[in-house]
Structure formats: structure tokens, C-alpha cells
């Protein structure tokens, strides 16, 4: 259409009245702009390729010096001090200990808050609580680290006097507090998507509020709730500064949360703070551990998306 109208006028050359305000410049813009905008969007793909490429190449070099079996199944991690050994299990166990403590704190509290906000709370109460939870989500992790060290650790040491200054429990609890808002807001979104008529039906049958919440709304929103829990788990695994500050720097295989441990993320920070020469085997560990971290969180995020989509109840 457009070309049919404009072409003849161009052909005639000088039209006395300029009817076409789509001048040459805007035609040009309309050709260039989409390309520029596409480049902006493509940058996200390039970022992913960049991340995967760096991790794979450097990790590959690392595994030419260290056997992959020793890395995956070794139970001792001391890459900086002789005799060197590169078993990642202590870092993994440290990471999972923090994550499990955090989830024990965050999932019940987050879910209970979500049920309260979506099923019980008055509109006015919700208007106050939600911004507070948003603020909690916006506090920088280094601030949480300070909080763990200066308040939670002394509290724990008051109860268990043999606890070290750096311990997994304190860091785990604070990571849990950090991810409460995330569990809460994602679960609440899932619950508010459950249609009103389902609740009304249950109330009409004489159900009490907790019966509606626990037997109608939670099962109907279960896919979203499980997805929020998986995302929280993944977020806790990737958390860095709280564990660096409060959990210590002693990689070891232990099940005692009162001991000092080290997580994968905290190890990466520790090595990059020191002067590790580029290309050395210690430098390579950053990438091997980073790759392990990336794969675990990536799989968990995919799992969360899959759960949310696959098991969603459609109304």
C-alpha cells in the first residue's frame, strides 16, 4: 500500500504539495532501527555464549592437569597449600549445607507469609507488609553478611558456646532470611492466580479459612509454589557474600552446622582476592568450581521453569 501511494509522486519528481510526510529520513530510520534493536537483544545471547565459552575452555585446560575423577570424587580440597589436592566434595557439601539450612528457614516462613498475605490479610495490612518484604529483598548481600556476623553468630554462640566465630548455621539462617521475600512473592503470585470461584465454592460448602487455604488454594497453586522453592534453592547455592563473611574459609566434609566450612562461591572469592598467577593450576580452579556452580544453578532454573509450566493447573 505504502509504496503504491508514494512511488508515483517520487516518479513525478517535484510535487507541488508535499503530501508524504514519511520522508527519506524516516524510511531510512525504519530500516536501520530494527537492526540496532536486534543487536541489543542479541547481546543477551552473546553473554550466555561468553559465559559458557570461558567456563568450558578454562575448565578443559584445568582437567588436562587434574583428573576429572579426582575432582568429582576427591574428599580433600586444598589447591593452595602443598600437598595439593583437588576434590570438590568438601566445597559441594559446604554449599549444600548452607542451602539446606537456608531452605529450612525460608520455605516454611515464605510459604506461610504467602498464605497469610493472599488468604488472610486485610488489604490494608497487605499494603504495609508487601513493601517491607520488598525492602528485605533489596538489602545488599554484604549487609546481610554483617548482620550474620554481628548479631546472629553471637546469638548462636550464646546457645551453643563451642561454636566458632565462623559457622555454617549463622550464614545459612541469614541466607534463608534473604530468600524469604522471593519464596513469598512467587508463591503469592501463584496463589492469587487461583480463581475466586474455587474459594467461593469451598466456603459455600462450609469450609473454614485454613481448609480453603490448605486444601483448595495451595494444591491448585502447587506448581508455582514448588517452582518458587526450586528457585530459592538455586539462589541460595549462588549466594556469595554472606557465606564469604560468615561461614569461614575451611573446606571440609562435615555434617556439623556449627563448624566453619567453605562454599563454592566463597572459594572463588578467596582465590580471586589473592595474587594467583594467570594460567596456573590454582587459577584454573576458579573456572572448574565456577563451571560446577553454573551447571547446578542452570539445571535448577530449568527445572523450576519446567515444573511451573508442566504441572500448572489451568482454569
Amino acid at each position: 500500500m505504502r509504496s503504491e501511494v508514494t512511488q508515483p509522486m517520487k516518479a513525478s519528481g517535484k510535487s507541488p504539495i508535499k503530501l508524504d510526510f514519511r520522508n527519506e529520513k524516516s524510511h531510512l530510520l525504519d530500516k536501520i532501527v530494527p537492526i540496532l534493536l536486534f543487536l541489543c537483544a542479541a547481546l543477551s545471547i552473546l553473554t550466555t555464549i561468553g559465559i559458557v565459552f570461558t567456563l568450558i575452555t578454562e575448565t578443559f585446560q584445568f582437567f588436562q592437569k587434574v583428573s576429572i575423577m579426582d575432582y568429582l570424587f576427591g574428599t580433600k580440597w586444598s589447591p593452595l597449600i602443598d600437598p595439593k589436592s583437588f576434590g570438590v566434595l568438601p566445597l559441594l557439601s559446604g554449599t549444600f549445607m548452607i542451602t539446606i539450612i537456608a531452605c529450612i528457614v525460608a520455605i516454611p516462613l515464605g510459604l506461610a507469609s504467602a498464605i497469610y498475605l493472599s488468604e488472610y490479610a486485610h488489604k490494608r495490612v497487605r499494603k504495609i507488609i508487601k513493601p517491607i518484604l520488598e525492602v528485605l529483598a533489596g538489602v545488599p548481600t554484604i549487609v546481610y553478611g554483617y548482620f550474620a556476623l554481628s548479631l546472629i553468630t553471637p546469638l548462636i554462640r550464646g546457645i551453643f558456646p563451642d561454636t566458632g566465630v565462623f559457622n555454617a548455621l549463622s550464614a545459612g539462617i541469614v541466607v534463608g532470611i534473604m530468600i524469604i521475600p522471593m519464596v513469598c512473592s512467587l508463591s503469592e503470585d501463584a496463589m492469587s492466580a487461583v480463581p475466586r470461584s474455587l474459594r467461593d465454592g469451598a466456603y459455600a460448602l462450609g469450609a473454614t479459612r485454613f481448609e480453603v487455604a490448605l486444601k483448595i488454594v495451595v494444591p491448585a497453586a502447587l506448581s508455582g509454589i514448588v517452582a518458587s522453592a526450586v528457585l530459592a534453592f538455586s539462589r541460595a547455592i549462588g549466594e556469595t557474600m554472606i557465606v564469604t563473611v560468615a561461614a569461614g574459609a575451611t573446606p571440609k566434609l562435615t555434617a556439623d552446622p556449627l563448624e566453619s566450612i567453605q562454599t563454592m562461591t566463597a572459594y572463588i572469592v578467596q582465590v580471586s582476592m589473592g595474587d594467583t598467577p594467570h594460567g596456573s593450576i590454582e587459577y584454573g580452579t576458579i573456572f572448574a568450581v565456577g563451571m560446577t556452580l553454573f551447571i547446578i544453578t542452570f539445571l535448577l532454573n530449568i527445572l523450576a521453569q519446567y515444573v511451573a509450566r508442566r504441572f500448572r493447573e489451568e482454569y
Binding site: 543487536l39 543477551s44 550466555t48 570461558t54 488472610y120 517491607i132 554483617y146 554481628s150 548479631l151 538455586s234
Partner: protein, 292 residues
């Protein structure tokens, strides 16, 4: 119904009401724990840092002596970082959002980009640090400079900005676009003069919130090598730098109690800055809600 059955029925109802009451209290307490934790955090930090929250903190450089140390270089470093990051991440993020919402056809590539953005948002920040270290610090030989840090942080916040900007653009009613097309405007004229002005407050809210996250982010910049002892102000984008969270981390990790007070004071500065940014975002959001 016999009298006996009626009686058990009443008992059942009473019990269900009791469970309802107990659970109600349980839910309220759980919600309160989050609120109490936030208050405890703020009170703890204010009590610890209040004494050191003085002009010295803003005018002095870091020092080995806790009594003289300040965070002038860190505050300036954070502001410079914001100055470089803000335009970069705004242009790239909003550009990507406009492409995905207005131009992209619903095909495989678009779905891939969209999926990729949501995946990137879930990548731990420390992994961005590893990318920045390899790509900017070593690959492009930008060294441990302000520019390397800002570029890394830009990549980190882009997914958040894109998603927020997309939501704001999607909220613009289709009628606006139709009206613009009906007047004979081209696609870009419609997007730039009709859709974007209307979506801008929402976009800006998202950008500010994403930047406020970047200001508090520590891990990637520790990887890039933000120094902890910087007794000068960066003069060019190639200078080495420090930012507030790194300075705070440095003070926290010292055993001396005096430095912990300093760290708490530094946290107060950081939190005030975040509060101001969030306040700006809320103001914009309110204005936006009035317009639509």
C-alpha cells in the same frame, strides 16, 4: 439426626474453628518474622555504626588506623560506576525490550532470546565476575579498571532491565499504536513518539531498581579486582577503583572491632543511597499510575 450425632458434629466444628485460629496465628507469626528480621538488621547496624557516621567518613580516604579511615574513594567510585553503567544499561536494555515487544516476530529465535534472558537472570552474580575477569580484564586488556567493572555490572543488570522494560511497554494499550498508525506514522515513529513516552516512567522505575541492585553488588567486583585500599579518586575510566560494598567487605573482614563500627557506618551510607534510589522509583511509579 440423633442428639448424639448432632453433638459430635458441633464438636467437630468447634475443633475446625480452633485449628483455623491456631493456623491464623501461625501464619501471622511467620510473616512477622520477616518484618522483625528487617527491623533487627536495621537497629543492629544503626547502633553499631551511629558513632562513626560523621563527616570524616565522607572526606577521609581508607586508612590502616580505624580512627582516621573514611570511604571517600569508595563513595566516589560507586557514583562513577553508576554514571558509566546507567546510560549503557539503559540503552542496551530498553533497546532489547523494544525489539522483543514491538519488532520481533513470534518465531524460534525470539523464543530463544526470551528464554535466554530469563535464564541469565538466574545466573549467580559471581559467575558474571568470572566472565568479566576473563573477557574484560584479560581478553580486552582493560585491566582492573573502572571500565571493566562497569561493563561487567552492565551485563549483570541487563536481564533485569529488559524484563522490567518489556512489562512497561506491554502495558501501553494497543489503541495508542493503532491511533498512531492510523495517522500514517511509520513503525519507528509510532514506537519512538507514541509508545515509548507512555512507557517511559515504568521503564525508568525498572532501570532505577536494577541500578540500585548493582550499587549493592559485591561479588563480581571482588572478582574483577576492585581494590580495597584506594587512596585516590579515579581520574579516568581506566583507573583502578573501589566501591562502597568492597570497602565495607574489607572492613568487615578485619578482626579489629573498631573497623566493624566503620563497616556499620559504611552500610548506613549504602542503605541511605539505596533508599533514595528506591524512593525515586516509587515517585515515578505513582506518577505513572496517575497518568494511565
Amino acid at each position: 439426626m440423633s442428639l448424639l450425632e448432632e453433638d459430635t458434629g458441633r464438636k467437630q466444628i468447634a475443633q475446625r474453628r480452633r485449628i483455623d485460629f491456631i493456623l491464623h496465628i501461625l501464619f501471622v507469626v511467620s510473616t512477622a518474622i520477616g518484618v522483625v528480621a528487617l527491623m533487627a538488621l536495621i537497629i543492629d547496624i544503626v547502633l553499631d555504626g551511629f558513632m562513626r557516621f560523621a563527616p570524616d567518613l565522607f572526606t577521609n580516604y581508607p586508612s590502616r588506623r580505624a580512627s582516621q579511615a573514611g570511604m571517600k574513594s569508595a563513595i566516589v567510585g560507586s557514583l562513577y560506576m553508576l554514571l558509566i553503567m546507567a546510560p549503557l544499561s539503559f540503552i542496551l536494555g530498553v533497546g532489547a525490550a523494544i525489539f522483543l515487544e514491538e519488532y520481533a516476530k513470534k518465531n524460534r529465535l525470539t523464543r530463544l532470546i526470551q528464554l535466554n534472558i530469563s535464564t541469565l537472570a538466574g545466573v549467580p552474580s559471581i559467575v558474571y565476575g568470572i566472565l568479566g575477569l576473563t573477557l574484560f580484564v584479560r581478553g580486552l586488556a582493560l585491566e582492573r579498571s573502572l571500565l571493566s567493572g562497569a561493563l561487567t555490572m552492565t551485563l549483570l543488570v541487563l536481564p533485569i532491565i529488559i524484563v522490567a522494560a518489556q512489562e512497561a511497554i506491554r502495558a501501553v494499550p494497543k489503541a495508542r499504536r493503532d491511533a498512531s498508525f492510523a495517522l500514517g506514522a511509520t513503525k519507528w515513529q509510532t514506537v519512538s513518539r507514541s509508545v515509548m513516552p507512555s512507557a517511559l516512567p515504568g521503564v525508568m522505575t525498572g532501570v532505577i531498581l536494577a541500578l540500585s541492585r548493582a550499587i549493592g553488588e559485591t561479588a563480581p567486583l571482588v572478582m574483577i579486582g576492585g581494590l580495597t585500599y584506594v587512596a585516590f579518586l579515579p581520574e579516568s575510566i581506566m583507573d583502578s577503583f573501589t566501591v562502597m560494598p568492597i570497602q565495607i567487605y574489607n572492613w568487615i573482614s578485619r578482626p579489629n572491632e573498631a573497623f566493624h563500627e566503620l563497616a556499620a557506618a559504611g552500610i548506613i551510607v549504602l542503605l541511605i543511597m539505596l533508599l533514595l534510589m528506591n524512593f525515586a522509583a516509587i515517585l515515578l511509579r505513582n506518577k505513572y499510575q496517575k497518568n494511565v
